[in-house]
Each structure stands twice: as structure tokens, then as C-alpha cells.
Symmetry: D2
Subunit: 371 residues, 4 copies
């Protein structure tokens, strides 16, 4: 069996999540290649070495370019801060390697555009970490829609809210920087927009409102020094989909009570479907003619679930969505049809987020395709 | 104790709901006047007589003007089809009587404007049947907001969806006529807009999308003859409140699974509050610093609830909201401060709905006060 | 139309609930008789008079025997403290009148037995106020079971818990007296036992545990004086039904968080059904072959609901269950087949509660029919 | 750092779950030893070899005794059918090795007793796979109870129901054999009993009912040949805890709608706590003085959660509970205080299940300590 070498850049939470996912994908799935954890890179060489040992990588690099150049590396996984996605992905593409980049694809639409163009030209496989889409329950939702179980889709109402910035004393961080793709829309909302597109399709028009509620925050935790904040704390938008469906999306990182509330309801002429990421193993469904919503609980009838458990109700966790994402990545890299988010699709998400930003600034409907 | 004569026009479902409410208000509340069910009117004199007997009205009229002219009538309650609200209310105002009119106030903004102006000029007390606001849990929500428990309100996300038109074979009815204040926005959405205003205050700007999904429907149930439908099946809108809060509202009568889903989440800098009319005795609340939402269940600490039951968890029903509305009406008529929806406030709701309609037609933000 | 005279004893919360129910039953239902609110009795004559006026009773009595003797009274409704049920009901039976008695039927099994024997001998119609059974959703549950939708019933797991005595500083009241049918089992549990019998049928064997957690309580609110408490704070029991089903019942008035948690799950070979009185307009149902529970929301397909509202999701409240109970009473009194709880059935409930008490005291299984 | 060699017997679903857990524990936790996946055994040598490669074990054995004798193995993990737990664990103990055995400990109380005695005598560390206890939310529940947040515990009401045998056409399997620890009580109920003991402590008395609803099942799927079934399909029991708390437990594998419904409510004098394994990242809590239940969602304030995710609401899955169990095992093996289920505790669970079986057979209360 052919070997596929994985090179991972970054050793933070997301780096570890990738490492776990690559390890587990090997054990859980019958992959068409042998995954080799070839190299791990971190600017801190010592840390790179320590994590490489703990996570099972053969090699450690203190320099990400060295990892990209490493001939043992076939796939470059990027888990660094957002502003580094662009140079790293471009270098990996230039080296002809497959790229698996965390979301958001880039910190500007121009970067994102350059990345997708480069990838297209180089013909390399790309994937972006919109891992929530790999939830088997989301797969089921997509299948129900595709097979017409909901009829014509007429409405998508989505929200992604959390509370981690709800306290005005929560300090400034890179997430508060425009240049790092900060703000509720970019940080949280992009997941929701990707989901809306994944399930309902292209969005053609948007109108929106964004708001910065807390105009300054402590420079660091507990500090009296305040930093001005330019990014949005919350966003509300109207969407028009290419297929005629309409909808709303909202995102906030100020909403008390929510921790991971990526939720949506999709209404069709033959049924309604509802999901909340805080209960990721559930889907609520009401078909035409039924009296009320039925709760569906993830089970082994869904292949992505069966890989982890033979029994319904045992529940998958966040990290397993990442393992499923890695499996899809491997299938794509080995040329087997798949439905992940590549750089083209991720650019579409960025373009949509940009359209929302423009619509809010200019207080008008924006044609997404005009950007 | 002074007597207050009630005259009720209409003997349909809503007429009976009013009759029950007047009867029960007498038994449940210590009112400052003696409520006398003076007269009931219906175009069908026999029916008027039969219902008057069953519901305890002293007199029956086959002509609504006669009821208005009846000296025993101090308060005119109007429960007829929407297009009759205007002439009846105008006649009652002209007769110097208090008016209790079902929602919507009128079938055009011009009518609504004329009605509020007439009422103001005549100095008569007016009330409009936005009965959901009289739910003690809504009262609690309003109080929590007013007392600053949620901090500054930053977002209102509301929806009022039902499924009673979801079947494309559901036939045409007056609810499908623009001239009868039909459509999801007018029929359902106005309740939601009234609620948004009641809880968060004036709305200054809107942008919106409305849609007719099923462009024709059977003329009558089962008929092959189709009638063209011009009213909206669903609406999605963005709101900007005078106090700086932003939000979304959606309304649909095509949404499978929902029967009375007037729901909202109100987010403030110090907490979040959530409500769903399908569980009208509950409120979910998360204050800053709490880990998650707490379910509050209606109980006798709320005066409106205590009137009906000394024990928490016994639950009020829809009809009791109507009884509470009647009590508020009586308090207003007898000059005791209250917070119901008068013609001014109802006109504001109509104006807001109109602004949404204009925003949808013209595909732009609309300044509500410009209408 | 024949007139039926109602005599009501008691003017407390439950007395008013009866008065409302009689009033509303007239307006809501097409009854085969004309209900006349003939007389109201309270030991406090002045109060009797005041309430009679407010609630629409023609006559007031300071003496309950006078009410029973009043020839205008055909049905005697008893809402007094539990220990008075026996003498009042026996007097009413002796006078050949129909009796509508609040639960529990009596304060001892001997009394209850004497009451059902007397009623049987006199041939009078009797009803006991197990109003929760009149919930249309409970009617639906009963129908689903009767029609075999759940297959053979194999398990009933029920609980009725509240928190109103959870605070050890909650003072002594008559509910803490054995001689007044106090304690969690008699006060709350009897509702649950009645429900179990109503839905699943006769119980033949029981084993149980009862407990007094707080052995003394303040004599009155805030008092330092303590009174010893002999009644149970909580009970847990095993049930064996005549049809082979098994089950558990629990009741507590110490359970923080619950206000009216009369809940149960009924499991059959073809489905499971779940109910919680804190959401009395809902039923959860999972049929064999379905993936998960479906939420059913009360609507006008159920006649008991349609009487109050033509639209699903509008919700009934506690007081409307009482109105439904009154309707069933009137149907029974006028000789039309019905399924309410008569003195025979109420005695069965008392016998079952007694069997649980004996089983707990003697720490053994008890054959219910042996008592 | 010292190396600790893991030997795993069994390559089924549970074998793989162990393999994943050992792999992930290395990556997720800072363990005091270096975990070495030393050897994997399966009677099918080829399969053993294939799985060893896929899962990262250094060595494969076709004979479990060889694995136990392998000097590279320090800890023997047993995931074979239940009747093999006894010989394998006894052999591992005899070899002086730590044992990590799946539940149930054994197929008879005698075996379980011999195993705990042998382990005690040999002084080896033992653990049994009651993995649900390692859920951080269960840890939180235990801590809340231990720290007195709920006051004195007065009631435990638990249920573990699933639907996987609900269809009478579901065929016979080893789970239907008494000699393989089959039946709802042994298969599901033991998890619940372990949980009750883990959270509330020793159980001293039980009374119970067990039932076989479907007395025969197809010998294999679709077969006309029927096999008689002797094990219980459902069980209901009363419990008395050493600390004075009382309770009920129920278990069924016939309950339509449930997939993994290990649920309980624990009532104390200062609060109530509720859990449902079908939503394993949640806990509902109502403290004295609060109006209603609050939903707690797992987050990084709990160390077991923080190991997997820095953000609340991301949710753990079943397999991660296994990883947490392995971590606890490693801590125990390396002499660091822990609270897992050792053979003593697992024998207590078996004894309690046996007491329930005796109580049901003899229709009487059974003193657990008398067995």
C-alpha cells in the first residue's frame, strides 16, 4: 500500500486536534494509503520535537518552509494563526503538495482568491477545516435535502452564537483584529455561512447589519489599559439563495448562555429540519403530514458514525468530526470522489462574508457574485 | 359600584373567546366596576340571540350600529373580519365609546392612521387584541428588561411560524387577500412585531424579504379551480431599534412542525432570555456568570398568574391570556394606569409592518418614521 | 331544556375553580341541560354571599346541610378540607343527590368504602376531582393504548414530584396530618395512582418504601416551635398490573426544581409514550420502527381541545381541565356514557394507596385485592 | 520515563475502542509513564496481526495466555466475551499483572468473588470498564454531591433503557444467555447500579421485579426456529442506600425510542441533579432557592474535558470516556490516587445485581450484605 506523508504545521490546540485525527483515522478507517506522520513544525524547535514524540511524528522542524520542502511530506496541514495561512498554503502549493488548511482560508478576500487560483493552476488537492460539515448528522441533513425529503427549500434560518466575549472585561486578543480575520462574522459566522452553502447552495444576495457593542477592551486580562476594537461583536443578515430560498443568519460572541450554538432550521415545502451544534448528535425533523418534530439520534446507519461505534446513542465528539474530516481529505488526495470544502468553496465562503461586510457598511443589498 | 356595559360584535371563535374572557374576568379579578354583558351583535339575528343566551349577554342585536348606539354599552368589542374593524371602530369612537378591537387594527395603514387620530381626538380609551403580551411570562420578561437584569439590549431574534398553510392544497381564504390584511406578515408577523416593540421598544429601520411560495391555491377545499395568491407566505427582516439593538424577524405559515411558534431570544449585555409561545408558561433565562439557561415556570409570584392559580406549574392557557387582556382593558377604561396596546401603539405596529413591506418591494432599508 | 341545579360547598381556591368551571362549561359546551348555579355554601355566611354574587350563584348558605337540602340543588360539589368529604358526601347521597367531590375521596379507606357503598345503594351519580385525567392529551394517550397503538403494555414508570415542602422551614399544615390525608403519597401520589389505573388498569400487587425526611417542622411560618411530622415526604413503589405490566411510581414534595411534575412513561411492545404535567399540552410518542420520539402538541383534532380553541398550539391551562371535568360530570348526571372517576374508582385509588402504605410498613409485597 | 507495556486481548468493537483509548491517552494526557502498546491477542492469529499493525501494537499473539506471559506486558486489558473474563483475569493476576477488564466482571457472583479475592491477595491493580463514570459531567455530579451542594441525598431514580431487543423478531444472541451475563439487568442495569453506587454509595436493601416479555426469539435473524429465552427483558427495583437515601432503578432493552438512555435524577435536601447519557455533555441542576433547572454544558473547567478541548460546548463522545478511563487506569497502576472501579467495587455491583435477581425470584426485600 502506498504511503502518504503528513506534515503538520502548528502545535497549539488545533495542531493537537489534527494529530489526534490523523492517528485515529488510521485506526478507525480502512484507508487506501498508509498514513505516515512524517513531520511536525513549530517555530519553537524544542516544542516541535517534544510534540512530535508525544503525537507520533517521525520528524520535527523549527521552520515551516523546511517541513514543506521535506520530501517525506505529501500533505501540508496548516493550523497556525490566520494571517500565516496565506504564505504557508502558497508555499505548499508551489511545492505541489496537497494542502489542508484551517479556517478561515485567509485574512482577506484577495488572499483567498490568490490561493484558490494558485491551487487550481497547480492542480493540487486542497481542503479547509470546516469540520462541522463532517458531522454524520449534517451528512444526513444534506442527504435528506438532496433526495427531496424536504421538498423545495424555502428558508434557512441560522445562528452561530457563543458567549466567550460577553464579558466586557474579556481582553483584546488577535480575534479582535481585522487583519487576523477577527470578529464574530469571520470567527464564528464563517462556519455558519459555510454550512448554509453546504446544505442549501450558493447565496446570491445579502443585506446585513454588523455591530461593535464593546468599543474597547482591556489590552490584557485585568489591565486598566484599553484597546479600541474595530471588529464586529454581532452580525445579522438576510440571505437570498440561488435556488430561491431565503433566510437569516446571525452571529454573536456576546450571547450569554451559548457555548457552541451553531444552529439552523431549514424549511422546505415537504418538511422542516433543525440542528444545534450544542447537541451535535441530534437532528429534529418534521415531515409534511407529521404532527410534530421527531428527534433523530446519531447511529450506525450513518457510515461516519458506524466507523466509531456500532451502537446508536453513544455519541461522537468534536474531535471525531476532525477525524472524519481527515478521512475525507485522504479520500480526496487519493482521487476518490468526496464533498469537502476545497479552496474554491472556502473562497466562496470568504466572498459571502465579505458581501455581508459590504452590505452592512453600505446599508444596501449586495450581489455576492459582483465581488 | 359603577356598572360598565360591554357590547360585543361577532360570534365566531374570537367572539366566544371575548365572551369567556369577560365572564371570567368578573370571577377572577376584583375589578373596580361591575362588568355587565350588555349586548351582543351578529348580522344573523337568530345566532346573535342564541349566543347571547349561552354567553350571558342581556341583549342581542342583528345590526352592529344598533349595538354601538345602545346606551347600555360603554365598551365596544370588535371581533369581526379585519376589513370591518375600521367602520365599526370609527362608529364607536364617534359615539364616544371605548373600543376593544381585535388585531390587526385595520387593513391599511391609512385606515389605522385615521382610527388612531379619531380616538385621540375623541379621547376614548382604545385597546387592540395583542393578547400574547398579557402572558405573565411576557410581563416578567418586560420587567427583567426594564429593571436592567439583561443590561443593554443588543439583539432581538424573533420568529412566528405555523404550518396551517404548508400544504399547497390548503385552499384560498380571506387570509390570502391583501385587502383583508392577509399573508404571513400581517396575520402572524404583526404579533411578533408588536411583541418586539413591547419588549425592546421602537424600531427605526428595516430591511426585508417577502415571498409568495405557492402562487396559487384551490379556490375551495378540494377544488380544481385555482386562485392566484398575492400575499406573502414568508417574510424575513432585519430590524434596527431606537435603543441601538439590532435583530431579525421571520414569519411563515408554511413551516412544517410549528403550530404557534411565536418565539424570540433577547440578548443583552448582562443576560439572554428566550421564549416560545408553544410553551407559554416557560421562559429560559441565562444571566451573566451563569453556566447555562435556567427554565422558569410560571407561578403565583406573578400577579397575572396568581389570579388563576395559587400553585406554580399549573399553567395558564390561551383563553386566560384573553381574560388578562380584558382585565387590563377594564383598568384602562376606569382610568387606572396600564400598559396595553392602544390604537397609537397598534398603528405603530401597522406602520412597522408596512415599512417591512416597502423594504421588501424596494429592496432597500426603510426608515420607519418616514412612513 | 331541563335545568340542573348546582350546589357548591367551599369558597377557597378549589371552590372558585369549580365556579369558573361551571360557568365556562355552559359557554363552551352544548350541554343537554341548562346548568343553574343554584347555591353556594361557606361556614362564613358573609363570604358565602360575597362569592355567590361574584361567581353568579343564585343563593348563599352559611350551612352546608342547608345547601344539600335546598330543592334547587341537584348536584352537590364538595371542595372543603379532606376530612369533611365524608360527612358531606354521605349527607348528599342520603338526600339522593349527585356528588362531585374533590380528591382524595376520604381520609381513610373505611370512609371511602362506606361512601362508595352508600352511593351504589342510593344509585346516585358520583365523581371525584382527578382533573388531570380530563386533559385531552391524556385522553389521546388512553385512546392510543386502548386501540393497541402501543401493543401490549409492559411498563409504567410514573412520578409526581413538587418542591413546595422542600425547604425544611416550610411550616406544618393540614397536609402534614395523617388524619387529613396528608403526606406526599396521599396528596400527590394519589393523582399518579389514579392516572396509572386510568391508563393501564388495575394494580394487583405493590411493594414500597415511604420516608419522612424532615421529622419536624415549624408550627407556623417562622416559628421556633416545632411540630413532629408523621406523614411521608417521599414514596417509591413497585407496581404489578392485572394485565401483566410492571412499573414504578415515585412521589415527593421535597424535590427541588419541580412544580407539578406528574410525569410518566408507558412502554408497550409497539411503542413508548411519555407525558409531563408541567407541559400539559404535549405528549411524546415513539412507535416501533420510528427512530426517536415525536412531540405531539394538543390541537383541535381532540374534541376536548376543540371546545376551547380551533387552532393547535394555543394550549389549555389547568382551569380548563376542570371545565372538561365538569362537562363529563354533567354528561354522567344526564345518563350519557362517560369515563370519569366515580366513588368506586376513587375507592380503588384509596385502596391502592393504602396497599402501598402497608407494603412500606410491613416491608413486603401486598396483594391489593386483599385489603 | 518508565515504560508501561499494554497487552490487549480481543479485537472486536471493544478491543478497538481500547486501542484507540490507549493511543489517544498518550497524546492527550501527560502520563507519568511511557505507554507502550506491547501486544495484541486474538484467537485468529492473522486477525491479531492485522489489527496489531493497524492499531500500533508491537506484537501479535494467537493465544491469550502467551500475551499474559509476555514479559513486555505489564497491564492486561480484557475485551473478550463475558465468560472468558474469569480465566483471563485469574491468569493475569497469577502472573502478577495489572488487569483492566471489561464489564461485567464475571458471569457469576462466585467468579466475581474469586477474582476480587485473588486480586487482593496478589496486590495487583485492577479496573473494570464502567466507562460512563469517567464522563467529566459525572465527575462534576460526584463532586457536587461530595461537597454537599445537594445537601443530604434522599432519592436516586435511575433508568437504563434501550430498544435494541424491542422487536420480537430480534434474534437470540449470547446476550440472551444467563451463563453469559445476559438480560437487561446484567447487560444494561449493571451500568446503572455501578453509577448509583459511584454517586450515592452502598446499597443495603433491594426489592425487585424482573420479567421476560418475549419468551422466545428466532435462533438467528429471520429464522423460523425459535429459541426459549430465560433472561429478563426488563427489571424494576427499589433501592435502600446505606446513607438513608431511597430510590428506584429500571432497565429494559425493549423500550422503543431509547438508544442509550442511562438516566437518573438525584434528589437532595438542597438540590436536584439530572443526567441522561443520550446527552452526555449535559447536566441539569436545580439548587434550593432557584426557580428551575439550569442546563450545564461540559466545558474546560472540568479537567477531563479540558484534556480534549479548550472550549465549552465542543462535546466529548463515547470513545473519549474510554480514553479518560485509560488515563485513570494508568494513574492507578502508577500508584497515584484515583477513583475507578476495581474488582472489589465491580464485585459489589455484581452482588447488588444478584440481590435484585434474588429479590425478584423470592418476591421479598433482600439484604445485599447477606449475599
Amino acid at each position: 500500500m502506498r504511503e502518504l506523508g503528513i506534515g503538520l504545521i502548528g502545535t497549539g490546540f488545533m495542531g493537537r486536534a489534527h494529530a489526534l485525527a490523523f492517528n485515529n483515522a488510521r485506526a478507525v478507517f480502512e484507508l487506501p494509503v498508509h498514513l505516515k506522520l512524517a513531520a511536525l513544525a513549530d517555530a519553537d524547535t524544542e516544542r516541535a520535537q517534544r510534540c512530535a514524540t508525544a503525537w507520533g511524528f517521525a520528524q520535527a522542524h523549527g521552520d515551516w518552509q523546511a517541513l514543506i520542502d521535506d520530501p517525506a511530506v505529501d500533505v501540508v496541514a496548516i493550523t497556525t494563526p490566520n494571517h500565516l495561512h496565506f504564505p504557508m498554503a502558497m508555499a505548499a502549493i508551489a511545492a505541489g503538495k496537497a494542502v489542508y488548511c484551517e479556517k478561515p482560508l485567509a485574512v482577506s478576500l484577495e488572499q483567498a482568491d490568490a490561493m484558490r487560483q494558485a491551487a487550481r493552476k497547480a492542480g493540487v488537492v486542497t481542503r479547509v477545516g470546516y469540520n462541522y460539515q463532517h458531522n454524520p448528522m449534517i451528512g444526513l441533513a444534506r442527504q435528506l435535502i438532496a433526495e427531496g425529503d424536504l421538498g423545495d427549500i424555502i428558508s434557512f434560518q441560522g445562528e452561530f452564537s457563543e458567549d466567550f466575549m460577553a464579558d466586557p472585561a474579556s481582553p483584546w486578543s488577535w480575534r479582535c483584529e481585522v487583519g487576523h480575520a477577527g470578529g464574530a462574522l469571520a470567527d464564528l459566522g464563517s462556519h455558519l455561512l459555510a454550512m448554509a452553502r453546504y446544505l442549501v447552495g450558493d447565496v446570491t444576495g445579502v443585506c446585513a447589519d454588523t455591530q461593535t457593542v464593546h468599543a474597547q477592551r482591556p489590552a490584557v486580562n485585568g489591565s486598566a489599559e484599553q484597546k479600541a476594537i474595530a471588529v464586529d461583536d454581532q452580525v445579522h443578515a438576510l440571505l437570498r439563495f440561488a435556488n430561491g430560498a431565503r433566510g437569516t443568519v446571525s452571529s454573536s460572541w456576546l450571547k450569554h448562555g451559548y457555548k457552541n450554538h451553531l444552529s439552523f432550521e431549514i424549511s422546505g415545502t415537504k418538511g422542516t429540519l433543525a440542528f444545534d451544534q450544542e447537541r451535535l448528535n441530534e437532528l429534529r425533523l418534521c415531515r409534511a403530514g407529521q404532527d410534530g418534530f421527531q428527534r433523530l439520534l446519531a447511529g450506525p446507519a450513518l457510515p461516519g458514525y458506524a466507523a466509531f461505534s456500532p451502537a446508536a446513542g453513544h455519541q461522537l465528539g468534536y474531535n471525531e468530526l476532525k477525524t472524519l474530516e481527515v478521512q475525507e481529505l485522504i479520500m480526496a488526495v487519493t482521487g476518490q470522489g468526496a464533498d469537502g470544502t476545497d479552496f474554491e468553496a472556502a473562497w466562496e465562503v470568504e466572498r459571502l462574508a465579505t458581501a455581508i461586510r459590504v452590505a452592512a457598511q453600505e446599508e444596501r443589498w449586495v450581489n455576492v457574485n459582483s465581488l
